[in-house]
């Protein structure tokens, strides 16, 4: 890592620690994880006080929360959403299905796991994970935001590797 890169990464960490915009993408979940993400916004957990907010467009987002193990019908949509997000970006897999297929596993219509098509920063297991666990996962992802720059360079190689999946 060069000096510039190091500076850059600390800057990113500093930015994200106080302001993080999240875009939720349902890639074929059972709705359970989605409801727990919604619960994060309720007055009890109130995720906004951490400077974390949900936004309407992937272009405004820094982090994608993906729930569900990517169905065949949503694969293209998920890829497009990822591409529409500006760098630096993170992808957090929420729930057992997104982490590795869960109960549904690998079927004709279900790929089983987000990491089969996109790079995942943090995995949050659970069926569904409680709001506390999701929040912990998000905070965990912010902590390692400084690694984003390196993953950004590796991105091209990753896409090439996964294109024939």
């Amino acid at each position: 890592m060069t000096e510039i890169e190091e500076k850059l990464s600390s800057r990113i960490k500093q930015c994200f620690a106080r302001s993080l915009h999240i875009r939720h993408v349902d890639s074929g979940s059972c709705n359970g994880c989605d409801f727990e993400i919604t619960a994060l916004m309720n007055p009890v957990y109130d995720i906004q006080r951490f400077g974390i907010d949900f936004v309407a467009s992937p272009r405004h987002a820094d982090m994608l929360l993906v729930t569900g193990g990517v169905t065949r019908n949503l694969e293209a949509a998920l890829r497009k959403t990822y591409e529409a997000t500006a760098h630096p970006k993170m992808l957090v897999a929420i729930g057992g299905c997104a982490c590795g297929g869960g109960m549904f596993g690998d079927t004709y219509a279900h790929l089983g796991g987000v990491d089969k098509i996109l790079p995942v920063s943090v995995y949050v297991p659970g069926c569904p994970p409680r709001p506390q666990a999701i929040l912990e996962g998000i905070l965990h992802a912010i902590e390692r935001a400084h690694e984003l720059e390196s993953s950004r360079k590796g991105n091209g190689a990753y896409a090439a590797r996964t294109s024939n999946v």
Partner: protein, 131 residues
């Protein structure tokens, strides 16, 4: 507008403080007490989501729990003859690499008579019992 204020006055702010936030009460992470486990393999056979696996490594058994597959269904706690499973109050760990979601336990039980090598084969989604 008055109703809004009245409600705020009566119920206050419902947000839980930051330091209590990550505290969980319900079932979370599945734990195995490797001193109790006899490597009988019942749980591996019954687990609906193939989160458990048991593998013989020479004289010992390697027991693993895959958190990404675990659905906290309690089947393993019910079938275990020695009550070796328990749920911790903390959530399952969030990790950066998928491999870190698998925890391994080494079970070394001389007195037990294991049924054989049980491998949870994820590709075929069935459990093979080999003697």
């Amino acid at each position: 507008m008055i109703a809004v204020l009245k409600r705020l006055w009566k119920h206050g702010i419902g947000t839980i403080p930051k330091d209590e936030l990550l505290h969980v009460n319900g079932r979370g992470k599945l734990l195995l007490d490797d001193t109790k486990c006899t490597a009988c393999g019942d749980c591996v056979l019954e687990c609906p989501s193939e989160a458990l696996s048991l593998r013989r490594v020479q004289n010992e058994f390697d027991f693993s729990i895959t958190y990404s597959s675990c659905i906290s269904c309690r089947v393993c706690t019910e079938v275990c003859p020695t009550n070796a499973f328990s749920y911790a109050n903390e959530p399952m760990p969030s990790v950066q690499l998928r491999d870190e979601l698998v925890v391994h336990y080494t079970i070394n039980r001389d007195e037990s008579e294991p049924k054989g090598e049980i491998v949870s084969d994820r590709d075929r989604r069935e459990v093979i019992l080999k003697n």
